[in-house]
């Protein structure tokens, strides 16, 4: 038995040490030399998870039901696998939005609706109060144990034999402990005027406490295992004598294990104190990485001696008259190791105070920001909207909240908690906290989640929690009738709180979890799918889900057009953050944006958002939104306006795509132009050649004409015979020139696109005869023998009489021109085959070489190698012939061998039968 004053002295000494650490931590933070920016301190601070429940309750649970203490440590260990995926995202979101609590997080995600913040806060407070009560119970019980051992060794005994359940609350130890803790928390958590900054000193103190509680637990574990017994072997050997001991090492219900693991997975993420330390107090996202294995390691180490201590306690205190929750203390006390007992008591106090301080700070922030301030704003009570400096009031509200929370914890302990073991109280809180999971996890991974969905899920889950856990606990502690549990509400057996809808085979916690989570998730998803998301919510959803995608500068919330006067915003900042901070914050903004705050311009949307964000850090996002709204002209974008903006964006995108397309087209066009240019150059060359050739062809006859004219004019020596010859040449060359000019014009006409042929039904045989009549004189002169092979009754062709006449004349004249000087033949053949009239013009003249056969149809290209020099001709006759035939839809070709004559063959399509008639 330890003297009270010793216990109190050591306790206060220890608390003094904690203050020193906190003070040092804050000092370092002020000097920008943070001591908590460290993997190990961060990981240790997370060990706030291990509370008095762990410190005392694990052994108690192990002594009663063996391995069942393990799931709540396995859950967090498993969560570490998802840690980086989930918590990193949450941390990033909170940093970007200056979110300082879990209520703020959910509220912010679902459109900063104040009601939402209130609901989350109420759930958190009601859910966590039993947990605070649990710590009060642990501290007070163990204080009694350590100060009055062996007179008092169980909590039940404590109450029954000493009458502590008296009405004289001021003599009640737990009450004083609650007040002490409240004072402690107020000093720790609300020392700073600045409510937004991190509690660096606090985190350092919590990390230190984690070391102390681990050391104390290991100390008692080692003492029991190696001091009282001779190590694990000896202890387990002896433990075999304990009746029913083997059942402790069995897992009774895997179903309950599953639910325990599940609920603790949620708790490690969403318990307000865990959220506070993991997210809000996080200095560096990278710390998550190391914490992901350091923290599970901590839990592993603290659990090593749970079973040995439990077995040692069972061996040492047979008969069960010592509360197993107190084994860690009673064992050293029984062995008269009072110093160790004191150390263990300090360790237990560390575990309890750490939890209470962080939890109440987190909850008081939520209560202040999401419950009290919105109500004050709404009701106008205390004229909160008109006060000049609200910081002191904020602190006051928070301090009141802290006191209220601890008194709530005390009340719960006083009325209900005394009757339940530590563990089951803790599990109730875990179950309440798990209700946040769908809204949060859904909120950061699913854009579709709506305010209505989140709200209905949360409320329904909470109601089930109240119905299946809280109300029955009231009944079990005698506050209301027990028959409620056995018979259900209104006697309906389907509504029995531990067996909803007849569900059997689960413990109370698993049962409550199953139903609350089922309803919560279903409503969240279902209602979300069937409800319309407001613009505000969808903006937030986008920002939360895509937090890693959009750069922090890009704020879609700017789609809400808001304006305010700069002095108004400044006043707001001064009221909530103080003049210095307000000045600093605004100057930072002005510096970053390069604006002058003295300008009488209104603050734009961006600046309003900036100020709101900073206010949100102090009073929560919903309150900040409400307060800022009081000085802004706000124009919430309608869906149409939003669509317009989206449309514009789409148009810009489309335009840019178009530009891209255009640029491709331009590239192609430029390519085409290049090609066209090449073709033009080629055509230009052809044109030059053509001009050059035509010039040549025109100049040649002109040369003869001029020469002979000059000779005749200048030379007196020319005799009559020569004169006649020269004049003959002049006439001949003049005719040649005329013919050439006509042919050039013909060809030009034939090649122009506007040429219209004067079509009629043409009898080819008639044309042949007409042509030969024209050439009759030439034929006689050359003594050409005509041979005809004409098919009778061929169909007429559709053609232009004059042009077809020209074709015949050209071909016949050529044949005559190139015929043998003696015994020249001209054979004309006419056939109709496959709706085509075929005409062959065959001579037995000089013939054309293979090379020349290809070129004779081109302009100005005459066959070169002909006996007797170059024959008369312009070189345009055959090109004109070919052109005319092609204009009639026919083709011409030549077959020839030099010296063996030539055969020109062409066809003309027959006019269609019906048109003939």
């Amino acid at each position: 038995m330890l003297k009270n004053w010793i216990i109190l002295l050591v306790s206060f000494g220890y608390i003094g040490l904690l203050f020193a650490i906190a003070y040092y931590g804050d000092r370092r933070a002020d000097q920008k030399k943070s001591i908590i920016s460290n993997h190990y301190i961060y990981s240790l601070s997370l060990a706030v998870y291990c509370t008095a429940w762990t410190f005392y309750g694990s052994v108690g649970l192990a002594a009663n039901s063996g391995l069942n203490f393990l799931p709540i440590y396995l859950g967090p260990t498993l969560t570490m696998a998802l840690w980086f995926l989930v918590m990193r995202k949450i941390i990033r979101i909170c940093k970007q939005h200056h979110i300082t609590s879990i209520a703020d997080f959910i509220t912010s995600r679902y459109g900063k609706n104040p009601l939402m913040g209130g609901v989350v806060t109420i759930i958190a407070v009601i859910g966590i109060i039993p947990y605070i009560a649990l710590q009060l119970k642990a501290i007070s019980t163990n204080f009694m144990v350590i100060s009055q051992y062996p007179d008092i060794i169980s909590s039940t005994e404590l109450i029954l034999s000493h009458g502590y359940k008296s009405n004289r609350v001021f003599q009640d130890t737990p009450f004083f402990i609650a007040l002490l803790l409240a004072a402690f928390t107020i000093i720790f958590g609300t020392r700073h005027i600045d409510t937004t900054e991190r509690h660096e000193g606090l985190v350092a103190a919590i990390a230190f406490e984690s070391i102390v509680k681990l050391a104390a637990f290991l100390a008692v574990g080692i003492f029991v295992t190696y001091g009282i017994y001779d190590g694990f072997g000896d202890l387990f050997e002896k433990a075999k004598k304990i009746p029913d001991v083997t059942k402790l090492l069995r897992i009774d219900s895997y179903n309950d294990w599953f639910w325990s693991i599940f609920v603790s997975m949620m708790a490690i993420m969403f318990l307000p104190r865990q959220f506070q330390l993991t997210v809000v107090e996080n200095v560096n996202e990278a710390h998550l990485k190391k914490a992901a294995w350091l923290f599970p390691l901590y839990m592993l180490i603290i659990n090593i001696f749970v079973i040995p201590i439990a077995l040692g306690g069972l061996l040492h205190f047979p008969g069960g008259n010592v509360d197993a929750d107190t084994f860690v203390l009673t064992l050293p006390m029984a062995e008269h190791q009072e110093a160790l007992a004191l150390f263990v008591f300090i360790g237990g106090m560390s575990a309890a105070t750490g939890m209470v301080i962080v939890e109440t700070i987190a909850l008081s922030t939520m209560m202040c920001n999401d419950l009290v301030i919105p109500v004050l704003l709404k009701t106008g009570f205390m004229k909160i909207a008109y006060r000049a400096d609200l910081r002191n009031m904020l602190l006051l509200i928070r301090r009141c909240c802290i006191i209220a929370l601890l008194l709530g914890g005390y009340l719960y302990y006083h009325t209900i908690g005394e009757y339940f073991p530590l563990v089951s109280i803790g599990m109730m809180s875990f179950t309440a906290v798990a209700q946040f999971a769908p809204s949060i996890l859904g909120g950061i991974f699913w854009k579709r989640g709506t305010l209505q969905g989140a709200m209905s899920g949360l409320v329904a889950g909470f109601i089930i929690w109240v119905y299946t856990l809280t109300i029955p606990s009231l009944a079990q502690s005698g506050v209301i009738s027990q028959s409620f549990i056995e018979n259900g509400l209104f006697g309906i057996s389907f509504l029995r709180p531990f067996h909803l809808f007849g569900m059997e085979g689960m413990n109370n916690i698993s049962h409550a979890l199953f139903w609350s989570m089922l309803i919560n998730i279903s409503l969240y998803a279902g209602v979300s799918i069937f409800s319309r998301q407001s613009e505000t919510v969808s903006i937030q959803a986008e920002l939360f889900v895509d937090v890693f995608k959009s750069p922090p500068e890009f704020r879609k919330s700017n789609l809400l057009k808001r304006e305010a006067s700069v002095p108004d915003l400044q006043t707001l900042l001064v009221r909530f953050l103080g003049a210095d901070n307000a000045q600093r914050i605004l100057a930072k903004y002005a510096g970053k944006r390069g604006i002058n705050l003295e300008d009488p311009l209104p603050a734009d949307t961006d600046m309003v958002a900036y100020v709101e964000k900073h206010l949100a850090g102090t009073i929560g996002s919903a309150s900040a939104r409400a307060i800022v709204s009081s000085v802004t002209t706000e124009e919430v974008m309608s869906l149409e306006q939003m669509m317009t903006i989206l449309d514009e964006t789409q148009q810009v995108l489309a335009y840019s795509r178009e530009l891209e397309q255009k640029s491709l087209e331009l590239q192609k066009a430029s390519e085409d132009l290049k090609n066209a240019n090449e073709r033009l150059k080629e055509l230009d060359r052809l044109k030059d050649d053509f001009i050059s050739t035509i010039t040549h062809e025109l100049r040649t006859p002109l040369t003869s004409i001029r020469s002979f004219s000059e000779i005749l004019h200048d030379s007196p020596k020319v005799d009559e015979k020569q004169r006649q010859k020269f004049l003959g040449i002049i006439i001949q060359e003049s005719q040649r020139l005329t013919r050439l000019i006509n042919q050039i014009l013909d060809l030009h006409k034939l090649e122009s696109k506007n040429l219209t042929l004067d079509f009629s039904k043409i009898n080819i045989a008639a044309i042949i005869r007409e042509s030969l009549e024209v050439l009759d004189q030439l034929i006689r002169k050359r003594n050409i023998k005509l041979i005809f092979d004409l098919q009778e009754k061929v169909n007429p062709v559709r053609g232009d009489h004059d042009y077809l006449m020209q074709v015949m004349l050209n071909l016949f004249a050529n044949a005559i021109k190139y015929s043998k000087p003696e015994g020249g033949d001209l054979m004309i053949r006419l056939r109709e085959r496959k709706m085509k009239i075929w005409i062959d013009v065959i001579d037995n003249g000089v013939g054309i070489s293979g090379d020349d056969q290809h070129i004779i149809f081109e302009k100005f290209r005459q066959a070169k190698n002909m006996a007797g020099g170059r024959p008369q001709g312009s070189g345009l006759g055959l090109p004109i012939t070919r052109r005319i035939i092609e204009l009639h839809g026919g083709r011409i070709r030549v077959k020839s061998r030099p010296g063996a004559g030539s055969t020109f063959t062409f066809y003309l399509p027959v006019e269609k039968a019906k048109e003939i008639n």
Binding site: S692, T695, H696, E697, R699, T700, L702, T703, S704, I705, R706, S707, F708, E710, I711, D714, S715, K717, Q722, F726, I729, Q732, E733, K864, N865, G869, R870
Partner: protein
Amino acid sequence: MGKKVLIVDDEENIVISLEFLLTSSGYEAISARNGKEAYELLERHNPDLILLDIMLPDCTGFEICQHVRGNPKFEKIKIILLTARGMEKDIEKGIAIGADAYVVKPFSTKDLVKKINELLGGSNEIRQ
């Protein structure tokens, strides 16, 4: 004996007129209708001057000109290019490959004879 002039042209009537002009001016005229004949006459007669058409059936006047200029044996032969292709670049090319003059068809008979006389050192005057 007058100096010898080789006419190379495929236009019969032009050849007739040139022969008449040259003979009247006291020159001896020989004529070829294509490149092949021209080379033969060149070898056989070694003329003092060539009146050379550019567009020939089997080759160009430029080729013949280059052939003559490439052979020291023909070093003294004067060459007048005679063509209906009156393009600048043709004239330049003709002079560049060593022609002494370039006359565009249709030409003035007087000017042509005068040019021939100049190139052949006024043989016409001697005769007159």
